[in-house]
């Protein structure tokens, strides 16, 4: 169920030379997309402090220059853009460093867990208007979300006034994510930040004035201090609903793995996407294509630093609301 990506128009514009930073599971995915599936991009460099990740890069990528050190990669004159898939706590400074080095930047979400730091990055980026900076809210590039956005823009549901949105991972009894939780920023800045961005985007970027958050820890006690939950038995269940004055749209109501319906003694069922990797494979690819097109002279595509600041501002307020039990006025 994907829409045509559209014809690929090649021009005489020279390729964007990309250096990917961070080669964890998601970094590998980005690197492969940039290496093999994005017209106009050349993956020329990769950076990781981990030897096994560099080893993977040697065997799986088309001979990029490899760096252990981010500063060294930034000195590489043959790199036009950096692609940051690093721990959230590093994003802000790495973006600023890349701008100082004259590189375009794609950075995974969130921009930062700290609102002031987000603001500092915005201020700094304002000094480099010729450089592109995009934060990886990839849901904006998912064909279904994009279709919904375009319907709303054309007035298909009248005036949209409400969004319901969730980002729910499949339960992993082994609890890897519990160990990851302390540095993730908590459920609001790690997961729900996507929903926050989607809601702003689909509602036409209204100014958030008040937030309220409520939650429980149902399965994993280790998540208690972070207020998070990860309990879906059936898969990664990520979807949104937009309600307007003349209609409504549901995106991803059932997270079907594919187009197969299985009829057996349990009834009729469809299996579900186990992780966001399967669910958003197309989105990650479209996102990379759009960024490269933007660097080559196209329009800004995807979330700006200002969008990312706003998402962090709202997510932080939600975290505060969960802790206090009170609404937070922005």
């Amino acid at each position: 169920m994907q829409q045509e990506h559209g014809d690929i128009l090649m021009t005489t514009v020279s390729n964007v030379r990309v250096g990917v930073v961070g080669l964890g599971r998601l970094g590998k995915r980005h690197a492969q997309n940039l290496a093999y599936r994005v017209p106009g991009a050349s993956l020329v460099a990769a950076c990781s402090p981990l030897e096994d990740e560099l080893e993977w890069a040697r065997s799986a990528l088309p001979a990029p220059r490899l760096y252990r050190d981010y500063a060294a990669l930034l000195e590489d004159r043959e790199v036009d853009a950096v692609w940051l898939v690093t721990p959230s706590a590093l994003h802000a400074q790495q973006i600023v460093d890349a701008l100082h080095a004259g590189k375009h930047v794609f950075c995974e979400k969130p921009l930062s867990l700290d609102v002031a730091e987000c603001e500092r990055v915005l201020a700094e980026a304002g000094r480099y208007p010729h450089l592109r900076v995009t934060i990886g809210f990839m849901r904006r590039f998912d064909p279904s979300y994009r279709d919904a956005f375009e319907r709303i823009e054309k007035g298909g549901i009248g005036r949209p006034f409400m969004v319901r949105s969730q980002t729910c991972d499949k339960n992993d009894p082994e609890g890897f994510f519990v160990r990851f939780a302390p540095t993730s920023g908590g459920i609001f800045l790690d997961c729900s930040v996507h929903d926050i961005d989607v809601a702003r985007w689909l509602l036409g970027n209204p100014r958030a004035t008040r937030v309220f958050a409520s939650g429980t820890v149902a399965l994993h006690e280790g998540l208690r201090e972070f207020g998070a939950s990860r309990t879906m038995a059936h898969g990664n269940d990520t979807g949104s609903e937009v309600i307007g004055t003349a209609g409504s749209l549901a995106i991803g109501r059932i997270p079907s793995l594919n187009r197969v319906e299985i009829a057996d003694a349990g009834g009729v069922r469809t299996e579900c996407t186990p992780t966001f990797f399967e669910r958003f494979e197309d989105a990650f690819l479209c996102e990379a294509q759009a960024f490269v097109a933007a660097v080559q002279g196209g329009a800004q595509a995807g979330a700006t630093l200002a969008d990312a600041l706003e998402a962090t501002r709202i997510g932080s307020a939600m975290r505060a609301s969960l802790a206090s039990g009170q609404p937070v006025v922005l």
Copy 2:
């Protein structure tokens, strides 16, 4: 709704150098996949007798060598494999010529509209066991069909004993396809041939013993002599159902365009894939990846010449059955 394509493993195997032949709408799609999205493939040549298609190749592809003449392309020593997206009537001879020139061959379906010609190609191909020949029954590479195939293989529905399958294009009031019909081979060899192949594949390649066909011309009188129909109002509605002794599988029951559900005064609806291009975008890509992997030493993937012969044999019998009103014993 697509499954992960799996990790892309790069080895030291050198790239397969491909020359695409025929640059119509589908040829362009194949060419772009081979040029930009298939690891291990290099699109090094393209061939078309039409100037505008060559012009497109100059601007949209990465500088392939261009040929007006198929024979000239076959003489290109730097081409390892040809990719035939030409009119059906040319397939058989072009395959034989390619084999004679020592090229691997991917050829769009059908192999030929004529059973005897199919047999001649098989006999010829038997002399070149080191060369790969695959016929483009791309549905075998669609992630949903593949999932169904694997479930069946694992015994998920017991013994499969019945397949229902359809290939229905969206109605086009302008009737372009009516003009195309005389050379298409008719509905059975042009469209249903996919269903024939799917049925054989999902049922474990039983030997067909008898066919019966029935049909009507509901909308386009110009199709009368070809027995075809093309009337779906909602989109390309292509799907299959496999019934087994312990369960059943439906593949593509509703040809949803994407994951958006629209609620408006008409109820709740999902829009549908307008053509097979959107429906099978992933399948075409996976097909190309599998062929290249096979040429590089992997297992045969996709339909063999023997499969294609059998599909033509059954499709021809169905055509005869429609004409006579009687079952045809094979």
Copy 3:
């Protein structure tokens, strides 16, 4: 998922006094509907040769007069209409006898397994134009089938030209139905006869000119001589599809038990109706209401004897076609 049955309008018309004949599982259902859920009907008599069925009638029905013998019931002056839920082999003669006794008749399908016998009943009924005779093709009263019928009548899908329809029971490993098969008339006259009637009804009663049947015995060897199959693992899967020149309708594509979707480790599923009892509960009730309204002076509702004759004619031809492997011209 049911449509409103509409307001119940009561007039001064006196109640139709009904005698039900046959109190097996389906007979009980009819009896309860007539006793408690059909305005305008009074269940005044019941007939069965079996003591336990009469015992059930004593405890579960509102004091009807009980008969062991059909002839005795026919002599009951206080009975206006008989409701036959008896073995198929008895239907024809029991209808004729009821007409001779001046009773309206509702009779379960099929009218008869024998075309000549059907014709004899029609001829006899022609002599009693003031008496209503309806054959219980209850699918015509299912709210979803009725909705489809009305959409087609209003031109909603243009000219309908194809119906696909199936009646598939859930597999019962114990094989009760195998013992029932010899007297059922076989799959075409027992089950598919519903599909035949639905197809005729939804297509506007075209004259059938040719039939072809094909089948296999996949699970129950005991059904071999009757050509039947009963293999669905998930439930009673009964549905139809009508394709027209401007759209299509699918009725009952997934036989969901109710509106609950269950998300668990197997994905997202809905359980299915185990038997036709749950699937067609509303239809049986609406059917009874319509028959009573017709007897009270309304229009004929449901299948006529002529419809039932045609269904038997087509079903018999299908049985012959399955046996011969050849199409049968009607």
Copy 4:
């Protein structure tokens, strides 16, 4: 999509003689159910101050005794139970009056818009333990909700810890409901009160400790002072989702009118239930059957006065929360 109502067992228990009070649209529905579709019930009386409603009762019901005055009906010794379908503001006092008169009571929701008044009714009812009082939260009798409840009881989704639930009417541009709003109690006590009851019921009646409400007026300015909304374009969209530690259940995710899927130029769609009447037709009937069975000696079925008090308590707190913008601790 309904489950079998189960066999109807008749015993020698004498019929419950019911008097229905209030014959508006919903009152008529209850009256018809009680008159014709509920074994064990006799509709013997009806009460309305409106002449046209009494006129309707004369023609549509089986000769009940008619009253203009509720007090007069209560004096009718041949009435065992009253069935209150009157304006919400009258419920509390009418229940108390009925208890004083020795009648069992079925009363439509809500019990009262005022918590203190609810408590007064509970106190009064405590003095009549032999009389049944049930408040009409009919969703507890909807076959799908009941199925969900039973799955949860059996542990099918582990420990349920979250319910999402909505009650959304189809938009009516004429705005009848705007005029009705001032006396309805507002969205929380009129509509969401069902969701409150469903959440308590499906979660095992936990004690509510805190509520927070948020809302907007999107379409009907006349609703502003009542905080309500009624904007669904596609129909009455009423559903719930229950999330547990081992799975989740969605009830009524798409409010399909029936089992028909329509494929046309807009895609594939299903029409939706226009009002709660079609959606909950079965629930109203099952509810009446259960009440009558309870009066005849069965277990309490449906919501008790204590449940209704709790629903009003929570709904009132939500109304206060919406007004203040702050959470309300209970």
